[in-house]
């Protein structure tokens, strides 16, 4: 199977007021096309930072990120932008909806970047919003929505261009268990039937159990890893991982 994402000894150091924060400290990661990977870890362990590096939004301090074997550091701004528009869908931990656009427009606008024709944009936006249960709220502005509803708009937007890679930062963080399950099943579904790849950050082990593989991140390093595919007792495997996280 081909690798869609590969990182080689990637580090990210933030300098703030002279104090260096090493958020990511040398991560080697390989994700296959069509895989569903969950990254778990305590707050501040560098999960979001890693996801931003993979999503071509941030530049690593050292090391290299490859997207389908192309090193991101070699791409110019236009190519990276195009990658973000067409190949990568990002679900932000902080949602990042555009406040002046309503729910429909928030999803529709990124399809322009993906180069879709108007009629297709309309049709696809409507069906995506139906899928995430927001068909009735299409004309509402984000500031009229609950946290969970905004998160679902963010999910719909990330899926808008049917990207090869979906990067989800805590996509169920604000959702009740029923709606959360719906979103997780949706992510699982796009992996299974459309061969899209999902990398999901979460600190919810129940959410992680939807993945094919779970990585534990701590202090910017990968501390453990377990495949869940074909495992009957996912609970036990996850508990073992949990101990790694707490160790």
């Amino acid at each position: 199977m081909n690798m869609i994402v590969e990182t080689k000894n990637v580090t990210k150091t933030f300098g703030m007021n002279g104090i260096a924060v090493e958020a990511v400290r040398g991560i080697d990661l390989q994700v296959r096309e069509g895989e569903f990977v969950a990254i778990v870890g305590p707050s501040g362990s560098g999960k979001s930072s890693l996801l931003h590096l993979i999503g071509a939004m941030d530049h690593p301090t050292s090391g290299e990120v490859f997207f389908r074997e192309r090193p991101l550091s070699r791409m110019n701004d236009g190519a990276r932008t195009d990658l973000r528009a067409r190949e990568i869908g990002f679900i932000f931990q902080t949602f990042n909806l555009l406040p002046m656009l309503n729910v429909f427009e928030n999803v529709e606008v990124v399809m322009r970047f993906g180069g879709l024709a108007k009629r297709e944009r309309i049709q696809r936006t409507e069906s995506l919003l139906k899928t995430v249960g927001l068909a009735e709220r299409m004309r509402h502005l984000p500031n009229r929505l609950s946290g969970g509803e905004r998160q679902r708009v963010a999910v719909a937007r990330a899926l808008a261009n049917q990207p090869a890679l979906v990067l989800a930062d805590e996509p169920t963080g604000n959702l009740d268990s029923t709606t959360g399950t719906g979103i997780l099943e949706l992510l699982r579904e796009i992996c299974n039937s459309r061969k899209q790849t999902v990398i999901m950050v979460t600190h919810d082990f129940r959410a992680a159990s939807y993945a094919d593989r779970v990585l534990v991140l701590r202090d910017g390093r990968i501390r453990g890893e377990a495949g869940l595919k074909g495992v009957t007792d996912t609970h036990k495997t996850l508990n073992q991982l949990l101990e790694l996280e707490l160790e």
């Binding site: 931003h52 973000r84 990042n96 406040p99 322009r112 970047f113």
Partner: protein
């Protein structure tokens, strides 16, 4: 394109956008007025010059000698004998040539524009020297009795107040310097030099204004237009101390005046437009500063830099266009009702609609360069930095 986002950004800050539009509107309005004045002025001077095709105007030498002869100069003074000798020059059409006396009745509001109302004395039977090519709106363009007068439309308007506010027309009488003159003709549309004229027989004018035996100028019409320069040379050879102006000379002198005026006015116009550009620029810069996180988000979800550019430039152009749209009716109002004597007609302003459009887009584009440059440099990461 993200032009709908540009529109939404404008709509989001209604009061601010409204104030910007009003600011742009007053600048553009001012610009249009200055432009209109300049247009009227140019048209006026060209109209005058054109009216003198094939004619030669002779005045006493102007002191500065700079060639800026003023056709209606009342300071020029020629003896009647000199005028007669001039009128005897060979190669001229005597019927369409005359000695004239120009005396201002009311001063003009601007320099180089003919007096608001000017008395013109000319030899009866030789009206064509001055009025050749013009048509009457009513009555006749010939003077038969000593107390008859022909009025240009501007002059007729001027005497309205003397006529109990009623329109002055043929058979009306007007008081000029203690005499009562009978209006026998009203000129049709004509350049201001003619529109403002109160035309009467030369002896009458000499008597009223106490200039016995003198005239201010002589206008000769040459029989053969091609011979203008020959006639001019022969006059210059035979007489000294005279300024002899052909249509070409007038054209030269007019364009030197117009050039000076134009460069002065274009400084004013540029300053006005610069104010408009800066107003829009400040507002769009502030709006980009406020929207950095959203611009970062747009970049993060795949908006290319050129799309961000269209959003910012679009916002800037829309503000400038709306300002222009507001300015147009105001400018037209002033042109139509406020300053109709000194500005071209409404159609004059509208004829340059495409110039107005280009100006509006130009102001918007110029204003957007700096903020757009700031906006396209916003990094996707900026979408993550705020909370």
């Amino acid at each position: 394109m993200l032009l709908d986002l540009a529109w939404k950004n404008i709509w989001r800050r209604k009061l601010r956008s409204l104030l910007t539009i009003l600011g742009v509107a007053s600048a553009v309005q001012l610009y249009l007025m200055v432009h209109g004045v300049m247009g009227t002025y140019t048209g006026e001077i060209n109209g005058q010059v054109n009216a003198f095709a094939g004619r030669i105007v002779i005045q006493q030498q102007v002191e500065s000698g700079g060639g800026k002869s003023d056709l209606t100069s009342s300071t020029s003074s020629l003896m009647e004998e000199t005028a007669e000798a001039l009128l005897a020059t060979g190669g001229i059409d005597r019927a369409a040539s005359s000695a004239l006396l120009f005396v201002p009745i009311a001063r003009a509001l601007m320099p180089y524009i003919p007096p608001a109302v000017v008395a013109v004395g000319l030899e009866p039977g030789h009206e064509a020297a001055y009025l050749g090519g013009l048509k009457a709106a009513s009555g006749r363009l010939t003077l038969e009795e000593p107390d008859e007068v022909i009025l240009g439309q501007g002059a007729a308007e001027y005497y309205r107040s003397e006529n109990n506010g009623d329109p002055v027309g043929i058979r009306s009488t007007i008081p000029v310097g203690g005499r009562t003159l009978k209006v026998v003709g009203i000129l049709g549309d004509a350049p201001q030099l003619f529109a403002n004229a109160v035309i009467m027989p030369l002896p009458t004018a000499q008597a009223i204004f106490d200039r016995p035996g003198t005239v201010t100028s002589v206008i000769l019409t040459v029989q053969n237009t091609g011979a203008v320069e020959t006639v001019k040379s022969s006059i210059q050879a035979g007489f000294s101390g005279l300024t002899v102006s052909t249509q070409d000379d007038m054209l030269r002198s007019a364009s030197s005046i117009l050039d000076a005026m134009n460069s002065f006015m274009s400084i004013i116009e540029t300053s006005i437009l610069t104010v408009a550009v800066i107003v829009v620029m400040i507002v769009v810069i502030v709006s980009v500063m406020e929207a950095r996180r959203e611009i970062g988000t747009l970049r993060a979800v795949g908006a290319a830099r050129w799309r961000i550019f269209t959003m910012v430039a679009g916002q800037s152009i829309v503000l400038s266009m709306m300002g222009t749209l507001v300015a147009l009716p105001i400018a037209l109002f002033f042109v139509q009702w406020g300053m109709s004597d000194y500005l071209s007609s409404v159609t004059g302003v509208l004829q340059v609609w495409w110039q107005i459009l280009v100006t509006a887009v130009g102001v918007g584009l110029a204003a957007s360069i700096l903020p757009a440059w700031q906006a396209v440099r916003v990094d996707p990461l900026e979408s993550l930095r705020y909370e």
